[in-house]
Symmetry: C2
Subunit: 260 residues, 2 copies
């Protein structure tokens, strides 16, 4: 992956099929987003689900029905092509993982672009906090927890979290750096013992890839923008499109601009 690309150049590489992989570490300093696309009749319930669960689902842009192009966080970016990989859920069942969704697009689709924890990884690195998934060039490990989300309409479920192992001495710094960025999930939701949030095997993530946890390091868990996919499994809309976990849109928004 060429990390020297601008966000526009990176999206161009994604759009033309040159980059279909995960995006951890892509375009350091720029915010990335998760995706949820739903038919308009589910849009109110989902917007309310996001409002009620802002740590897991911080919305950075919501498009008009039928509109593929973004206008605020990545002007001109195409919702149907500029994420490297998508997931298509039909009646709550994952049916496809295409690299674009142009042929599936409908005039009643509303797309929700959700802040992503990849956005704060460069801030952690700048602050001297190691980010293992970047060091090991892997997708971040993500887990379905037992932390309940506040339901809204047809949407309900538990929170999905991403995990980064942090050395004990750097945990306060990791918390304070990320707490300043609530629009990309903010502070951790849990630090330490994974079993307390329903994770039985930290080596077997539900999404993404496992990473090494060294002696003296603690697993630290942040709310994750894959959370809506659990809600989609429960709500079973006739169709829903999401990003494939870890395969994000790189926006034109600098992470520094998302700090409070």
């Amino acid at each position: 992956m060429n990390t020297e690309l601008t966000p526009r150049g990176f999206r161009e590489a994604v759009r033309t099929g040159l980059h279909t992989g995960q995006t951890s570490g892509a375009c350091p300093g720029y915010a990335q987003t998760n995706l949820v696309v739903l038919p308009q009749r589910y849009a109110y319930d989902f917007l309310l689900y996001a409002q009620r669960n802002p740590a897991a689902i911080p919305l950075l842009e919501v498009t008009e029905a039928g509109e593929r192009l973004l206008r605020k966080i990545a002007p001109g970016a195409d919702t149907a092509t500029d994420y490297p990989k998508y997931r298509v859920y039909r009646d709550g069942v994952l049916t496809e993982e295409p690299i674009d969704v142009v042929k599936l697009w409908r005039d009643d689709f509303v797309s929700f672009h959700v802040g992503c924890s990849f956005s704060f990884e460069s801030s952690l690195i700048e602050a001297g906090v190691p980010v293992r998934n970047i060091e090991e060039n892997r997708n971040v490990p993500m887990y379905v927890t037992n932390i309940p989300c506040d339901p809204a309409g047809v949407f309900s479920g538990t929170m999905v979290v991403s995990m980064r192992p942090i050395p004990y001495a750097l945990i306060p710094r990791a918390v304070s750096v990320t707490a300043q960025m609530p629009r990309v999930h903010g502070a951790p939701v849990h630090i330490g013992d994974p079993s307390l949030i329903g994770i039985t095997d930290v080596g077997a993530p539900n999404y993404g890839e496992s990473v090494t946890i060294n002696p003296g390091e603690v697993p630290v868990f942040w709310p994750c923008g894959v959370t809506p996919q659990v809600a989609v499994l429960n709500a079973k809309p006739e169709i829903a499109i999401t990003h494939a976990p870890g395969h994000m849109l790189v926006t034109d928004v600098r992470n520094a601009a998302l700090r409070v």
Copy 2:
């Protein structure tokens, strides 16, 4: 006004008509909210308007259609009675200012409870920053600006701001204290020359009361939860109910819990 009351006790005083005044300084340390009530068919557009303008319209709780009682920020509080004074807009025209809206309540009403800058006033005072409207026991001055909001559906308009005069030396502290509280409007949107944001006479606010600006003080402007009322004037729904500016709901949420 008895500022020793708990939020529950204060709401009881409001509900029984003992307190019908503005709420600046009420129950120090507890967050207050602005109100917008709309028929359900406007709810998606308004929810999107809030998502697109989070500094002016930070939503703390949205109820189910027809539900008067809050369940999160002030469990058991009654949307129709626990704000000290309401405004009723019919077809975009302000028609009444009742002290409750029980008889107007409809099964299709959705209520939006919006974070309020009164919430951070006690944090400013604790940090040594004077809050003139509390010192002078007045409602805060609020102004319609020329700062455009990002439209959504039928809702559009410019931002309303609240103003507090701050001594030059304390402006950085006022910014840093309030920036930590994005769910109650966060950092100022403008500091200094009122004409740059379309305010022609700082002594003649559009809502609330004017306060003294002493020599050596600068007017500092924060996004205000009265912003939706401008959008209601433009959208002209057949009915909309808001709080009367400055007449807030006192919630059970401690301001400290709203800090990032």
